[in-house]
Symmetry: C2
Subunit: 233 residues, 2 copies
DNA sequence: GTCTATATGGAGATAGAC
DNA sequence: GTCTATCTCCATATAGAC
């Protein structure tokens, strides 16, 4: 079959995958627009379906629940952010600068959908699918973690042996905290979050410099002990 | 009216306040039992009303929403804990021991209703009434904060001037974190939480001892700066 | 004020059309 | 596989009985 022939066939009999992708996309876009306008809670699946020109059941065929739409948005954002995050790492700057770059990239990406993020941020319960700690979001979490691992490796920090393995996960957690704060930060232009981010990053840098002091040995032991149990296999 | 007469009257015409209190109590108890058995999400207001022997509307007359029942439970627990918390403070022990006592008292009080607490813990959004950060729970928060204030005052710590005012609130937040961890801690007998609590409290003690070091001055400045903006009026 | 009966509107499930 | 029509069950609202 030549390329032209195949194209012709596809015009007559549109590939099913193509068609369904388009419906899915239409539902997703309609939903996101309504979420942004009216807020996630206020939006109903009926509105979404109507706006997308399908029956309610169709929306549920593509997204098992309202939350799943938000998850799809998040997955897409994750994908969109990747080049920017890789660019940050490529700069091979200090850990502080790299972390700042990573977190700032996320804030920028989500800026237009800040209140939409509350759906993801507000579920702490690991059993809820949308929780950043759930099994359903594990793949996002892992791929995210990867950036923090790289950030740490690049700066060849001298970290205590018993703490080092947990540092990327701790930084990921820190970043989640900043994001959570940001989602509910109603100060003008989220100014408070900007200060939070700046000061805590600086504290991190100072803290890491001090971490090598032998005076802090007892803290290392306690922390290592704790992390082993909390993150324990 | 003699005391005997009044008692007689009350027997014939039960004071309305008395009657409604009893209904409210019946609904509350029925609800808590069902919540414990089947879990908060799975429990429906219908079940609760039926179990309490009233119509659904009656349940809503006393509690504007399902969440409000959980809040009522929490308020009651707060009241029940008070003597135990005051006893902890009366011991006038070290800050570490006092904090340990306060937090352990809470864990003990809530032990039978651990999963019920998830309703309170899982709402981070300050706009949701049940959130520990909401306006609706402000009175609980303040009264809670009071214990941490006392704990700090008793130990006459030498804290940097620009940080001292925020320490009770930071400790309250720390305690919320421990509680949150505990709610979702599925390790046997919540062993992980026990380790978390123990180690972090010890780290706090070590940390406070080191806090006085002039070496840490830059951290003080950054932290004070941060707290002023984040907790800013 | 206390409570019942009933209504409303939404999330999500399902049977079956194509 | 894709989608519509329809159903169930629930939270919450409301009219009005007592």
């Amino acid at each position: 079959m030549t390329r032209a022939t195949r194209a012709a066939v596809e015009q007559v009999v549109p590939a099913p995958a193509r068609k369904s992708d388009e419906t899915r996309r239409r539902i997703l876009n309609a939903a996101l627009e309504i979420f942004r306008e009216r807020g996630l809670e206020a939006a109903t699946m009926r509105e979404v379906a109507t706006a997308a020109g399908v029956a309610v059941g169709a929306a549920y065929y593509y997204f098992p629940a309202k939350d799943a739409i938000v998850l799809a948005f998040y997955e897409e954002a994750q994908h969109v952010m990747r080049p920017a995050l890789e660019a940050v790492l490529a700069r091979k700057a200090s850990l502080e600068a790299t972390l700042r770059g990573i977190i700032q990239t996320k804030l920028n990406t989500f800026a237009d959908n800040r209140q939409l993020m509350s759906a993801l941020a507000s579920h702490v319960d690991p059993k809820k699918p949308l929780s950043p700690f759930s099994a359903e979001t594990a793949h996002i979490r892992e791929s995210d973690l990867h950036f923090f691992q790289q950030a740490v490796m690049q700066t060849k920090l001298k970290l205590p042996k018993n703490i080092a393995p947990y540092v990327p996960r701790l930084l990921w957690l820190y970043q989640m905290g900043v994001l959570l704060f940001w989602v509910y930060d109603e100060s003008p232009e989220q100014h408070r979050t900007a200060v939070l981010l700046d000061r805590t990053l600086k504290m991190l840098t100072v803290g890491l410099r001090l971490a090598a002091l032998p005076l802090l040995r007892p803290l290392h032991r306690l922390a290592g002990d704790l992390l082993e149990v909390v993150y324990g296999d």
